[in-house]
Amino acid sequence: MENASLFVILVSSILVNNFVLSRFLGICPFLGVSKQVDTAIGMGLAVTFVMTLSGIFTYFIQYFVLVPLHLEYLQTIAFILVIASLVQFVEIVLQKTSPTLYQALGVFLPLITTNCAVLGLALLNIQYEFNLIQTVVHSVGGALGFSLAIILFAGIREKQVIADVPLPFQGFPIALITASLMSIAFLGFTGLV
């Protein structure tokens, strides 16, 4: 992936290596807040926001703090610290500066604090040895992939509410089956990049 072009990284992170459907990261918000398209869009926005910011931030932490000190093995714990603080910080600032955006994202922001997709992205950025621009592209791509998956899924689940689902499958069982079918569908993108 070292010499991968930015476009390839973008397509790969949105479709081929979709965070939810191929890497199975961030399943909890994927199932938890996908009952309505509106909330799914809110969640997608919040994730995009946080993923991009945390991708950039963790890049700096990695290459300006951990690497010079030879502490690369502290990645995970340091990144968790960074992401959690960052989300809290953003939440506080948003609440003051933009109450409307806070209302829209409000419920979802704290949920992302410990989201594995966000942490996974930060760790993958380092693993692939991306530079700063590649990191940003990969973060935005990953977040867009997450949003795409959750919004599509929410659209299907909205239809499922009025569908005649057998009682034992109502609710989460059918949602999980749907998710797995979507995952198989996304498998079709393998080999695109």
Binding site: V65, L69, L74, A78, L81, Q88, F89, K96
Partner: protein, 327 residues
């Protein structure tokens, strides 16, 4: 083991933690948003069951609504009067304490009273049973007794008895409405707490049909309506219903009902008693009594005939001297 490794890693994480902590502390000071202190106080005064009985998703949202004046202080059915007065104090208004309501199953047609059309052997759940040709009971409106309400009740207030009827414990019931919502037969309704005289039938079919199916059913004969001295009971849609605002629990309808489907314990019926030393003989009570149970001449002490008295309490309301008591 390299001690410096431990020290540098520990120190780095501590410094990072401190830096982020300081940044957050600074941000929370700098960007502090003032929250209405009333909201916090109200939230603390609420029971916190998050049952949704108030119509809001949870106690937090209700507290917000009360603080901003969008919900009444007595809006919490679980907290009751004490909670309403606590909220009223926080908001600085007077609480209009509403009458506490409780859920009540308006069906007394248990297994021994109500016929069955077939034996239902499916899942023990009323909603499932109701889908199978209405659930085996010959009465399409009655309680099925498979305990769906019992399972949804968060307060352990409703139970199915041995004869296949759900009974609400009024002491535990908070009128949250979960059972009312869950019941496929809509046989659960709200009655004022302590109300004794209740029509225990939900069947809106015509009299003969109802009578064939169940022994304790309202056959819409209208006897209760004719006998009620207070215009509190009416037959609509082949079913008697009581206006609890007007009902004085005199239990005349209970006595007269030919199918005994109106509840009320006659032994608990109160009797009016006139205190001779206070009575001035104004005859007001005598005139208001619906059963002519009070006798006495003008300016003489009046007497209540306990045999005729139905305990409606009308005379107590009228007496200008507070000379009448219900015992």
């Amino acid at each position: 083991m390299n001690v410096t490794n431990i020290i540098t890693s520990g120190a780095t994480l501590s410094v990072m933690g401190l830096a982020f902590g300081a940044a957050l502390a600074f941000a929370s000071q700098k960007f502090a948003v003032e929250v209405d202190p009333k909201t916090v106080l109200i939230r603390e005064a609420l029971p916190g069951a998050n049952c949704g009985g108030c119509g809001f998703p949870g106690c937090d949202q209700f507290a917000n609504a009360v603080a901003s004046g969008n919900a009444p202080v007595n809006g919490c059915p679980v907290g009751g009067a004490s909670c309403a007065s606590a909220l009223a104090e926080i908001m600085g208004v007077n609480a209009e304490v509403g009458v506490k309501k409780v859920a009540y199953v308006i069906c007394k047609g248990g297994d021994d009273k109500c016929r069955t059309t077939f034996k239902y052997e499916g899942i023990t759940d009323c909603r499932a049973a109701a889908m199978v040709a209405g659930g085996g009971k010959s009465c399409a409106f009655g309680c099925l007794g498979y305990g769906t309400c019992e399972r949804v009740c968060p307060f352990d207030a409703i139970h199915v008895t041995n004869d296949g009827l759900a009974i609400v414990d009024p002491e535990k019931c908070t009128a949250c409405g979960k059972c009312v919502e869950a019941c496929p037969k809509t046989v659960i309704t709200y009655v004022p707490y302590g109300q004794q005289v209740i029509v225990n039938c939900n069947n809106k079919e015509k009299g003969p049909q109802v009578k064939k199916n169940c022994d304790v059913s309202c056959i819409a004969c209208g006897i209760c309506e004719k006998n009620c001295p207070f215009d509190a009971i009416h037959v609509t849609n082949n079913l008697a219903s009581i206006d609890y605002e007007k009902c004085t629990s005199c239990m005349i309808c209970t006595e007269k009902c030919p199918t005994k489907c109106i509840s009320g314990d006659l032994s608990q019926r109160k009797k009016a008693l006139i205190e001779p030393e206070k009575c001035i003989g104004c005859t007001l009570c005598k005139r208001v009594c619906p059963t002519e149970a009070i006798t006495g001449e003008l300016k003489e002490v009046h007497v209540v005939d306990p045999e005729k008295c139905i305990g409606c309490g009308e005379c107590v309301k009228k007496c200008p001297k507070d000379a009448i008591k219900m015992v």
